[in-house]
Amino acid sequence: MNGPIVQPRVPAVPLLAVEDLRIGFGAHQPVSGVGFDVREGETLAIVGESGSGKSLTALSIMGLLPSSARIAPGSSIRFEGREISALSVKDARALRGGSIGMIFQEPMTCLNPVMTIGDQVAEALRQHQPLTRKAAKARAVELLDLVRIPDPHRRVADYPHQLSGGMRQRVMIAIAVACGPRLLIADEPTTALDVTIQAQVLDLIDRLRRELSMAVLLITHDLGVVAQWADRVVVMYAGRKVEQGEPDPLFARPLHPYTQGLLTASPRLDDNFHYSDGPLNEIPGSISSVAGQVGCAFAPRCAHACTACRETIPVLHHLTDGRQVACPVLITEEHRVAAFHR
């Protein structure tokens, strides 16, 4: 955290640029001002507790929000410099599954139960590439092989119910990367899987990221996953970005009380204790108390909260090393100085 500031080399146009994204359902706005970039080839992680708006953010990039959702005017999602909302229906479809692939949390239900997995992979291929039925099938086998499904020649003809959860998630990954996307969005890809399978699947995603030179937007609950696989991390709370930075410095020295709370709240590995085993008290209150409140959404649960916090929404401070935080209280002088010099 000390020493001269080395600005990372940032390409002029990031692969994906999300700015001031706000998504509402009527008066309720579960995503209220989120912005981040995803650069070519990197893994950006988004963490945050349940209901903080991670999935909605991801779905909005894909144009897959439920029909009742509205993206507020002023929000911007640009992919390779193009505004997604301005795309024609056809171009948007070309983007989905073509340049951006997505995998979901629930592999058990994400595949069509009455189609073979081969057909489901081939379908994605033929949607975006002029392939014959046969060529698509052959390519599907290759893809299944790529995601390390054993015996892909036989497995192409299998139906989803014949595969385990981990295998199905691999099929989902094969579908998502079928057309060589620039960006893979993975919304909690391992949450529903066995612990032993989780690492394999994340490993696979990371290997494919390198081999196919795509970027990965990884949404997760799991700070351990972030630490191991992410290049940068965005922490979300109640529909806003509260902190952003590289995992190591961010975990070493969280600058937002929420992030701090997260880290202390997280069970240690050696405790052999899991938070689903019992209620954890570390962060008092819950995110659901946020609705309709002014000021910082975290204020009611925050030990450092002052009157100002409850009245105005804190601005995002840009600090060294691309570090950002939406709370002034924990920022130390050195951060400020560095930011000033920038």
Partner: protein, 313 residues
């Protein structure tokens, strides 16, 4: 198979309960039968044996595809039934197909417009279809299309004495089929429409539909390849259960339209108190239901790989 046996026994028991027997009826009709002559006829038809013997005879006859002899028609019941089966199958088959197509179509429209005016109006319409007595709608269709408009024939199964062949004959037949088919199918249209609506709405919300969207597929392709195929599974299951209902419904419809099928035969048998024929029909149509259920099972295992398939992993 035990089901079939159960049905056989039930129909035999019903036959025993039937008041009098065909010989009585025949004698009554002829008006001149002597007691001796009647006894002789009973002996000829085996009607003077003890019940268990008769059951045994009945069963062994059945095994040989023999449903008994109709003294009234002076014909084997099996023969009588076989003669009528094609017309019945044509009518019920057409009604089932029509009901499935129109019902699923309506259901798809309702699901697409869920909660809106179209959905509500069609829901009420389907409930009306569900509530209308088929024989009454049959009569009203005759009033409108045969009597008032003169577009379609009011009864029969083809122009009598027509020498048309090929396409012309087929068209002629179709003209006679329109009204009975509609009357018979209306009720089932309502059922399939409501069922298809619910299962389409359900299927649309499934995760794999979101996956299909994420692949960039067109809405049309998503609807046909992903939503519809899954939504139709419950509909096909139910449709198989309706074969019996339709055979029953055709009793009234065939009577109204003079359609020479099993239903009309049943009506004639009731009126003539010919219980051998009546129970033969009950038995035969039950067998048809069993066959239909088996067919649906096969169809279902083709449409849904999760059924009866091997599970791995």
């Amino acid at each position: 198979m035990p089901t079939a046996l159960g049905i056989v026994i039930i129909s035999f028991l019903l036959l025993q309960f039937a008041p009098g027997d065909a010989v009585d009826v025949l004698a009554g009709e002829a008006g001149s039968a002597t007691a001796e002559g009647m006894a002789e006829m009973r002996a000829r038809y085996g009607l003077d044996q003890p019940v268990l013997t008769q059951l045994w005879a009945y069963l062994s006859n059945l095994v040989h595809g023999n449903l008994g002899w109709s003294p009234r028609y002076n014909m084997p019941v099996t023969q009588l039934i076989w003669d009528r089966v094609p017309e019945s199958l044509v009518l019920t088959g057409a009604a089932l197909v029509l009901a499935l197509i129109v019902g699923i179509g309506l259901g798809a429209v309702m699901a697409a417009r869920e909660g809106r005016l179209t959905d509500r109006l069609l829901s009420v319409l389907s409930l009306v279809f569900y509530s209308v007595p088929a024989f009454w709608i049959g009569l009203m269709l005759i009033v409108l299309f045969s009597i008032k408009l003169g577009w379609l024939p009011s009864g029969g199964a083809g122009t009598i004495g027509s020498s048309a062949t090929g396409v012309a004959a087929l068209l002629d037949k179709l003209r006679y089929m329109v009204l009975p088919t509609i009357s018979l199918s209306l009720f089932y249209i309502a059922i399939y429409a409501r069922l298809a609506r619910v299962s389409m709405i359900e299927a649309k919300g499934q995760d794999f539909v979101r996956t299909a969207r994420a692949k960039g597929l067109s809405e049309r392709r998503i609807l046909f390849r992903h939503v519809l195929r899954n939504a139709l599974l419950p509909v096909t299951t139910v449709a198989g259960m309706h074969v019996g209902g339709m055979l029953g419904g055709s009793v009234v419809i065939e009577t109204i339209y003079g359609w020479p099928g099993l239903g009309r035969l049943a009506y004639e048998a009731v009126m003539g108190r010919d219980f051998t024929v009546l129970l033969g029909i009950l038995l035969f149509s039950s067998l048809l239901v069993i066959v239909a259920n088996a067919l649906v099972d096969v169809l279902h295992s083709i449409l849904d790989p999760r059924v009866g398939g091997s599970d791995a992993a």
